[in-house]
């Protein structure tokens, strides 16, 4: 039997044992410290001195963006940046004293330098951009300075900042750790990887004081590739200036191969300001502007297409055989459906019309009737086939797909059933229908090239390697042949004929009757429902933001189509009176430059 005293003895012994073990362990630590800090200290001091390899980034040059007529739209400029490694205070003060002679620090700058040093960052930026003079002085005296490096960085510039603002986008002011320019919007963002290239580096050895000793290793950066666009800078500028007469609008010019000749959104903004650093006030001003200059209006905003959509309705009707070209429908200026009267834009009514007349006068009643016969399911199918309500796949970020409604969509979105009158409104491109300008122009392209796979593209492919290019061309040729997906020939012919009539005797006769022959379709899409008393009121008497959007989508010349032009003027009023004249002038310019 154990006694309490015995037990206490055991516990005391154990306590002392544990204390002794701890003491031994502490001695082990102290002994190790002794070995490290006193016995082998010399070795570790040497290692510590050697242990200073600085890796400095070498920034690649960002690729240029070039227009089809050879104008350089975006390019990079050299910029010299002065950085200083962390170094002992004496060296630091000496450096600042010497640099002061060349750079003339202000009191604030100097204070800032000392403040940054105290943060003990591996390196600090002394000057973001050296002038030519300063660069010469500093680089001549670099041997007197310790731990100072001059880094090459780049700044991005745009030669036509306003005209190309939405298309090219802009780069960030190099704020990331390696000072690499990165694309923020537009093509700069879409082709960022290609334009950016790969970063290189220089490995420098620095000595105990943090000063440069020698360059150990070097890896050159890979500069970014150029991007060549299909855009014609002259046309782009011309279109931008034309749109400048109106407040807000967009325009898209395509050729028959799907190359985009001009893509403009007005108003633009100065992308140089963005890439070189914009002040907060200016940025706020851009953001709060009533006309939203930052908005890309050709692919990232969607509108009800209005009467332009009647092309789709007509095409669907002809394909499905709901009407024949000869069938006539009576327009009395309005149709009654679901306890509501739906008016034609022409209050008096058009009388009896066939499909040619209906398209050329843009009769609403005719298309109400046709859409009702078609039903939303078929209308949806043909609209999607012609590329509406889906992305065109152009090389731009943030493309919006728009919307073609159908019964399922409405049930999910609004949780109510589809009504017949909604089919009718959809038939004239109003109601839920939303498309982007690019989709409209691509739809025209599909009809006039008789190829459902027609899609717009912004970039000339493989401009450098010729052999490769030839192969590509062959392949592409094959690919194109394979991917040729024809439309209904008869229906297209009817529509082409009708669209010619639009510009000769129809809604666009005043502006688009040209010797080379334009065919197209006007559209005035309502932005709100019209009240009973307002039908037929002059658009100029309505408040600006309630006016109709003016649209026009056309092709010229008639015999052998070369260009497609689509114009939208936001709240511009009538398509025939506002949008069509712009298209006419663009066609004039296009065909004249082409002839030359």
């Amino acid at each position: 039997m154990l006694k309490d005293d015995d037990f206490n003895q055991i516990v005391d012994f154990r306590r002392n044992f544990v204390l002794a073990v701890m003491g031994v362990f502490c001695l082990v630590l102290a002994f190790n410290l002794y070995i490290l800090q006193i016995k082998h200290s010399r070795k570790y001091q040497l290692m510590s001195d050697k242990n200073r390899i600085r890796v400095l980034p070498v920034v690649p040059k960002r690729g240029r963006i070039i227009s089809s007529d050879g104008k350089i739209l975006a390019f990079c400029d050299y910029k010299h940046k002065l950085v200083m490694d962390y170094c002992p205070k004496k060296v630091f003060e000496e450096n600042v004293r010497i640099l002061d002679g060349y750079l003339n620090f202000s009191e604030k700058e100097r204070e800032n330098l000392f403040r940054l040093r105290r943060k003990r960052l591996p390196s600090i930026t002394v000057r973001d951009e050296l002038s030519r003079d300063e660069f010469a002085k500093v680089s001549m005296n670099l041997f007197r300075l310790r731990g100072i490096h001059i880094l090459n960085t780049y700044s991005r510039h745009y030669s036509m900042p306003l005209e190309f603002s939405h298309l090219l986008g802009y780069t960030s002011k190099n704020t990331n750790e390696f000072q690499v320019l990165t694309g923020k919007t537009g093509l700069e963002l879409f082709f960022d990887k290609k334009l950016r290239g790969n970063i290189g580096n220089i490995q420098k050895e620095v000595n105990a004081a943090g000063c440069n000793v020698r360059i150990i290793d070097k890896e050159d950066p890979v500069n970014g590739e150029d991007v060549k666009l299909t855009i014609d800078s002259e046309i782009q500028k011309f279109v931008y200036d034309l749109l400048g007469r109106y407040k807000v609008g967009a325009c898209c010019v395509l050729d028959m191969q799907g190359n985009v000749v001009a893509l403009v959104s007005f108003p633009g903004y100065n992308t140089n300001l963005m890439s070189l650093g914009i002040s907060k006030d200016e940025w706020n001003k851009l953001n709060t502007d009533e006309y939203k200059p930052l908005l890309n209006r050709f692919s990232s905003s969607v509108y009800p297409p209005g009467s332009v959509f009647k092309i789709v309705t007509a095409y669907a009707a002809l394909c499905e055989g709901v009407v024949s070209p000869r069938d006539r429908v009576l327009c009395l200026g309005g149709v009654k459906q679901d306890n509501n009267v739906f008016h034609c834009w022409h209050r008096g009514g058009h009388g009896k019309l066939n499909i040619y007349e209906a398209l050329s006068y843009s009769c609403d009643c005719y298309f109400f009737e046709v859409a009702k016969r078609l039903g939303i399911k078929k209308l949806y199918k043909y609209a999607r086939e012609l590329g509406l309500g889906r992305k065109t796949g152009i090389e731009l970020p943030n493309e919006k797909s728009g919307l073609i409604p159908n019964k399922e969509w409405k049930l999910i979105r609004h949780k109510t059933y589809w009504k017949t009158y909604e089919t009718m409104i959809a038939g004239i491109g109003q109601g839920y229908v939303l498309t982007s300008l690019l989709q409209i122009s691509s739809m025209m392209g599909k009809i006039y090239t008789n190829n459902l796979n027609y899609s717009p593209t912004l970039v000339v492919k493989d401009s450098e390697n010729r052999n490769e290019r030839r192969d590509e061309e062959k392949n592409e040729h094959k690919y194109r042949e394979e991917s040729q997906k024809p439309l209904n020939k008869e229906a297209c012919d009817v529509i082409k004929k009708a669209l010619r009539m639009v510009c000769e005797t129809g809604t666009a006769r005043n502006s688009c009757y040209a010797p080379y022959g334009i065919s197209g379709k006007t559209g005035s899409s309502q932005v709100r429902s019209i009240k009973a008393g307002e039908v037929g009121i002059n658009q100029q008497f309505i408040e600006w933001k309630y006016r109709d959007h003016a649209l026009f989508a056309g092709v010229a010349p008639y015999d052998s189509p070369k260009y497609i032009v689509a114009v939208i003027i936001e709240h511009g009023g009538g398509g025939g009176s506002v949008a069509a004249p712009i298209a006419r002038q663009i066609f004039d310019k296009l065909l004249r430059t082409h002839a030359r």
Partner: protein
């Protein structure tokens, strides 16, 4: 007469504690290269810690004795909550977010284990203590949370918990022969435990055995840490003159590697001073334990002493390269709230004990 002795004890403890706290602030100033915002935040945490210390010191030790098991149960369940639910629902988290600070159950598990074991042992007679079977419950109370924490994975805290638990079982009087056999048995079972470790933990242990195995991985940190400490020499490179830490060769220079940062700039003298400071604190804890009349206080202060010692030894051993890198902070000195609060609570308990336990 007796009162004067208490005050003397508290005075010694407070002097030691404030020396540690001052070293801590100095260490953070060295790590951040001046009186930066982070240092200020650290000081705010210390002040917050002192309010907790004061609050705990005002509570009678008997309170902790009676509530020890409840606290243990609470910590244990929140540990399970974080680990079993945490891995699926909250994402791999070791902590529960409590608006003001994040509550890390594994951190408080150590403290609650010490409390709970002290409470358990203080109720047993010396006969029972000499019997192996009465140590079964403390053993389970130690091993089960250790396994949970090992699965987290947090090798450092698991080692600590096991060390504290086994140490306390040993101090309580577990039969000597059986203890020796159990330790030998445990070492034999270790290779099986190897399979429970995560890859990076295995790597750390392998790197510890052979530092040249991966000079740019975890071995790199240890090498850099050794270079930093070694280049400090006797008096160090001087305040703010350390190149290793300032040129960012050191990882975690303000948390786990704070000892490296300090000993680079203050040298052997500074490093030994810190070790002596902690040794003083640990010895004080054992002394207080020996002096106290209540058995609960005795076990409690032994446990706290063990915990403090294991923290210091594992951390410093780790930065010196004699133990694998397991991520154990240096008490009071490392930047970070959870660990600081644990040790502030412990200090509060010590003050409470030294003033009330003997009455």
């Amino acid at each position: 007469m007796q009162d004067r002795v208490f005050f003397k004890e508290i005075k010694i403890f407070l002097i030691l504690l404030s020396a540690v706290i001052l070293t801590s602030i100095l260490g953070q100033i060295i790590a951040f290269g001046g009186f930066e915002a982070q240092v200020r935040r650290h000081i705010i945490k210390i002040i917050f810690g002192f309010t907790i210390l004061f609050a705990v010191s005002q509570i009678n030790v008997r309170f902790w004795k009676s509530f020890a098991h409840i606290i243990y149960a609470f910590c244990f369940f929140s540990l399970i909550l974080v680990n079993l639910l945490g891995s699926t629902r909250l994402g791999a988290q070791r902590w529960i977010d409590l608006y003001f600070f994040s509550f890390q159950p594994s951190e408080f598990m150590k403290l609650s284990l010490i409390l709970s074991l002290s409470s358990y042992y203080s109720d047993l007679s010396s006969y029972e203590l000499r019997e192996a079977k009465s140590h079964l419950i403390p053993f389970l109370m130690t091993v089960v949370p250790t396994f949970i924490i090992l699965k987290q994975p947090d090798l450092g805290t698991a080692m600590l918990l096991l060390g504290v638990g086994v140490g306390m079982i040993f101090l309580a009087g577990f039969p000597t022969k059986k203890f020796v056999w159990s330790v030998i048995g445990f070492l034999g079972v270790c290779p099986i435990g190897w399979h429970f470790l995560h890859d990076y933990q295995k790597n750390r242990i392998l790197n510890f055995i052979d530092p040249n195995r991966d000079p740019f991985g975890t071995g790199y940190h240890i090498l850099q840490s050794r270079i930093a400490i070694g280049s400090g020499h006797i008096f160090g490179k001087g305040l703010f003159q350390g190149t290793q830490s300032s040129l960012n060769f050191l990882p975690e220079k303000h948390t786990d590697f704070i000892f490296t940062t300090i000993s680079e700039e203050l040298g052997f003298v500074g490093a030994v001073f810190i070790i002596l400071l902690f040794a003083g604190l640990i010895y004080f804890l054992f002394w207080i334990g020996n002096e106290s009349k209540s058995r609960f206080s005795r076990y409690l202060s032994f446990g706290l002493g063990l915990m403090l010692f294991l923290h210091v030894f594992i951390n410093i051993g780790m930065v010196l390269g004699i133990l694998p890198v397991v991520g154990v902070p240096l008490p009071f000195l490392s930047y970070g709230g959870s660990s600081l609060i644990t040790f502030m609570i412990s200090s509060g308990l010590v003050i409470s004990m030294s003033s009330k336990a003997r009455r």
